[in-house]
Symmetry: C2
Amino acid sequence: MGVTLKDVAKEAGTSVASVSATLHGTRGETIRVGQATRDRIKKAALSLGYVANPIAKSLATGKSRTLGLMLPYVDAFRDENPFCAQVMHGVLEEVVNRHYNLMLYTAASDAPDAQTPLLVDSRVDGIVLVMPEENSAIAAHCDRQGIPYVSVLQRPGPGRWCVNADDYRGGRLAARRLWNLGHRRVAHLTGSMDVATSAPRRDGFCAEMKELGCPVPEFMVVPSGFTHSTGYESMKILLNSPREDWPTGVFAANDQCAEGAMRAIRERKLSIPEDLAVIGYDDTWYAGVTQPPLTSVHMPISEMGSQAVGMLIDRLEGREVTNYQPLLSVHLTIRQSCSPFSPASTPGTPESTALIQ
Amino acid sequence: MGVTLKDVAKEAGTSVASVSATLHGTRGETIRVGQATRDRIKKAALSLGYVANPIAKSLATGKSRTLGLMLPYVDAFRDENPFCAQVMHGVLEEVVNRHYNLMLYTAASDAPDAQTPLLVDSRVDGIVLVMPEENSAIAAHCDRQGIPYVSVLQRPGPGRWCVNADDYRGGRLAARRLWNLGHRRVAHLTGSMDVATSAPRRDGFCAEMKELGCPVPEFMVVPSGFTHSTGYESMKILLNSPREDWPTGVFAANDQCAEGAMRAIRERKLSIPEDLAVIGYDDTWYAGVTQPPLTSVHMPISEMGSQAVGMLIDRLEGREVTNYQPLLSVHLTIRQSCSPFSPASTPGTPESTALIQ
DNA sequence: TTCGTGTGATAAAGCGCTTCATCACGGCGT
DNA sequence: ACGCCGTGATGAAGCGCTTTATCACACGAA
């Protein structure tokens, strides 16, 4: 266990320096090795089964070709929400593409003291922070330690590297869709206000409705959350109001929330989308398999992950990054939960099938 | 950037050795430091903001306190199946509990040559392999390099450390449930046969039905897969047979497959569970939000992840592990997709509500 | 006084790799 | 013939930490 450079050097009858230069191509000059020794070294390495020790390499170079991914909470994956998983997908993909490695960290919420962020150690060259909620402790730690990072879902700030999707526009798209289908009494189940994306989605939604001449009354904006159960509860609140106050269209915080809302709606024996249209957010695979399938604002989640990684690596390798606060665009994916026609029933409001983009 | 032991030593007016011993408690003897210097050192470290360099530590000790998690494919997270995400949850949780770190690897399917497994480098003390399909290349690489590993979902073999759930029993539970509810014409949509869990589930299912005096005819065992779409297609095949051959109960490969099957069933305007009962497998959160919610064989997925980590660390730290091929138990979680009563309709076969465990 | 012996502390040798500084050598221009 | 330079190759320092061997120094017992 553990063939070292020295072993290879001895076998090939050369020096460690030459072996190092040959096997791990030094960038260009300083060390030169002739073709003959090169071959001898390669053969020796192969026959001994040499495999480099990245730890030693890291110590010597000060770089580890490893990125960290900091997840907001330990439960990021038990969670019913595939969001983290999808960010991770993008991150992993790009990391693999670029021949980097990935370390996983979690901002353990149970130990909020100064210890925790120490997890983010010098094993990594830089880190990707998934920070739906502001957590300045970790960012501060990175700043202090001089660890470059880029955050996902954190609001832009001066000098802050962060990738976001256009939540405000997402809200507007949802509003426009409902309005186009003829809905005039619409509601919004907001995400948790601790999460940075919630407010812009709500604001975009309300702004668009207002511009369309149909402002959303305050009681139609119901605090909810990003889970199935919060969606269910919040929708029930709406449906407990007098019948004439019921919305005909609902814009939910995300897909899980929307499905929760749909459950509440079904329990009232209302049909979707005829009696009540529903729009979700995120457009994860989940939206495609609900019953009925969800119309949802599509957020390029895994792209956000890969962009973050891309920016980070570019920065680490000294390339210039012009836009370090990209705002990725969203669009609406239309399915049956909010459409003029339903698969199994009579057509709904048929006036506008106009594509929204 | 980079306060070293030496800096602290100078500041405290002592030697590096003492600082090392004080700050990173050496186990017991060899080096002794008096209380006075101890205090001085701690103060110095604090004031300089010293933080240890784990890379150097690793190089010196040969241990990294880091585990690797090898995922079967890059798309493990884009995938609609939350399985990987849940294993990961368990892994991460235990890793954090034990104060280890986690590196993420992926068996990139696009580069099946010898290069790939090199990703698993000596940065890790051991690795957890999630190997639904046999992939001996990676295992072989670990063997060769002497990297300890434990695999999840790999069939037991001599000397092989692996954690599994009792798939055979899971199949039996599903069969028993259907039988108890009076179903005599039952079908099984199998998982992909490349995946180790598929066969035992099928075998358990068929064995139980046979023992109950109701063997499953061969055409009722339909090759399917672990996705929504394969479930949909396979169910359609079943429903394309003459009406009198239709099953009254279906045991699907997993929850996604079951939901696909349910879609096919709905398209035929059959109701679930009255006309056709459906049982899923895995019992991820997904099973709870389908329409109707899925009865599903519960597999302790995240526990499998944490057990794997637990075993691995125990081994690494020289503790004795008596059972290195644990078979975790499964149970049936009953919901509406396979129950005598339906929420919105007439009772189905009311004979047996007996709990199955 | 002398010899252990326990205590506090340190110098220095690695861990496996990178890389700077240096060197030997042969060919070429003048 | 001399000095120069490009080429091939190497020794050794150093990355930040652990750990072994060693040492200095009292203090109590013989």
